[in-house]
Symmetry: C2
Amino acid sequence: MRQRPSLTPIIGALPTTVPFVGPEAQERERGRPFRARIGANESSFGPSPRVIARMESVARDQWMYCDPDNYELKVAAAAHHGVATENVVVGEGIDGLLGLVARMYVGAGDAVVTSLGAYPTFNFHIAGVGGRLVTVPYANDKEDLDGLLSKVASEKAPLVYLSNPDNPMGSWWEAPDVVRFIEALPETTMLVLDEAYGELGPASALPPIDVARPNVIRMRTFSKAYGLAGIRCGYAVAEAEVIRDFEKIRNHYGVSRMAQIAGLEALADQDYLRSVVARVAAGRERISSIARQNDLKPLPSATNFVTVDCRRDGAFALKVMQGLLSRDVFIRKPMAPRLDRCIRVSVGLDHELDIFAEELPGALAAARGNKPKQ
Amino acid sequence: MRQRPSLTPIIGALPTTVPFVGPEAQERERGRPFRARIGANESSFGPSPRVIARMESVARDQWMYCDPDNYELKVAAAAHHGVATENVVVGEGIDGLLGLVARMYVGAGDAVVTSLGAYPTFNFHIAGVGGRLVTVPYANDKEDLDGLLSKVASEKAPLVYLSNPDNPMGSWWEAPDVVRFIEALPETTMLVLDEAYGELGPASALPPIDVARPNVIRMRTFSKAYGLAGIRCGYAVAEAEVIRDFEKIRNHYGVSRMAQIAGLEALADQDYLRSVVARVAAGRERISSIARQNDLKPLPSATNFVTVDCRRDGAFALKVMQGLLSRDVFIRKPMAPRLDRCIRVSVGLDHELDIFAEELPGALAAARGNKPKQ
């Protein structure tokens, strides 16, 4: 019998099943496309027309490698946040940056604290370095700041994850609460503060950026409000030495030239961003209204989605989601205990929310009758 | 004094200086652009017009996340090589895939064998997992297959790197030699066979793909012959279980939607690829001719660059390169002992090679006079 190369013990112990199932995979399985793509918290409004025009104009230039420094984008992001260029690192989306953070701070067996039901990609990357996830349940549909602090202390965790505003519940903490959380952390614990939805909620939820503090990494993305999920580009803002540590292991040619150019143009068009934020707010109202008309309870949201309490158990909400999927409406739902009573609906274009409004009653009826249409 | 989060021992031991200096950084430092960009082995001929048109048409769709399965591109690449879809994984360029391979197979302190002066990004990723690089000098400007085999055996290396055709020398082994190398490897040693330049050399250099063998990973890219370095997309072909192992740790949303679409269209336009291969061959002849006219010795090349022996020592060749850079001609050079007597010139457009022809005599004269123009 043939031998084969051995994986490292950490990689060898990982499951081959991964949490990433895109709508495209679901469409392939179903054999037909969705009519409404309102499940991945993308921005159906798309990127700024200026960004689109710029991307079109540089398609032919993509024979050139990207600038491995991401220099121009880094300079622009730094100026946007009022920090120095040395305080910014650009990566292949927040996902890519989270993978680096895991490798930087987490050794095999180290405890890493996050909320139960929070971002699965973070968990995936922690598993990938052999970290030990310690989870804290949400409290009142918000990440439990005191619970997280308590676990960080008891587990001596080198790393803790907090998203604000939060996915999948859409909830948020106001800046003073986040600051209190940061100040209560041990100085030796690194906080990843995932602000993927930061542009979409109240400004009062975003603490001032303090790049003197060596144990906070703030993460932003072009995937949400900027409408550029497909380009795979995000950035982290942190103390300069922390940023230099990213340089040691990041894939220096990981962010595409197209992404660098698109991101730069997106940052420059803040008028468009404001228009999207207003349209997202209107869309949240619309989703909430549809939910209420169906006797469901929309939760407050500071993001581009609304999490809707279906007012029964997780099995029921699962049927509601399945009913919507079978009616060609792509949505997702939280899966953790207590959160799982909800479905999660992204703000889409008007015609997509029309379809959601049309199909929700049927999906609910089927779920209530215990006969979801498949 | 404030404490700070600790890096893991492996990351903490890494240098902050990294080997990635793009031409953009050089241009920023110089304060002016290069007139000829013929140093990074990009394809100045650009991508296929079909690819450009397709990229332009989908710019506005980039609000959607990429398909985390890279499904369509994977299917097309598999068909292109006559293997099953389960034998292909797509990544953020070969660079991204090399980073994953390092994590999969190399534990702290493990020996990894490569050629002295071969691809620095591979070395970077090995350092990033705490691997111990063991290098074998080139022999007659080719990677030394027997030397590599010998080091693999003596070091019990879990991983060995071979590029064919090779960068930075442009040399290659014929398929039977590569097959002999593969068959002589221990079954427990994984071979990364980097075929980034595979489309540009003689077909006789590419062994048949054998996906039953669990210890070979073949890597291909859209960065070279396909003229899409900026999109960051490559793929690996290997035995199905090896491919499944990549799934455990890869950044599933790492390859942009634009890259997926461009790569798919590029594979579909093999006529354009053939035309590029012919133009690259003509460009190699032109560079070789210019070199000979200047009493230099061009080496045979199976790539989109020509490595030119400057017929003196490394210090001299360095001055030649510096002279060309100061004359606004971006090239690079090998740095390892013995290889360092050479400069490396990528095939560019006719007007770029005209500039190279014009500036090389001055750069050589300055180098010979020990007074390089700076």
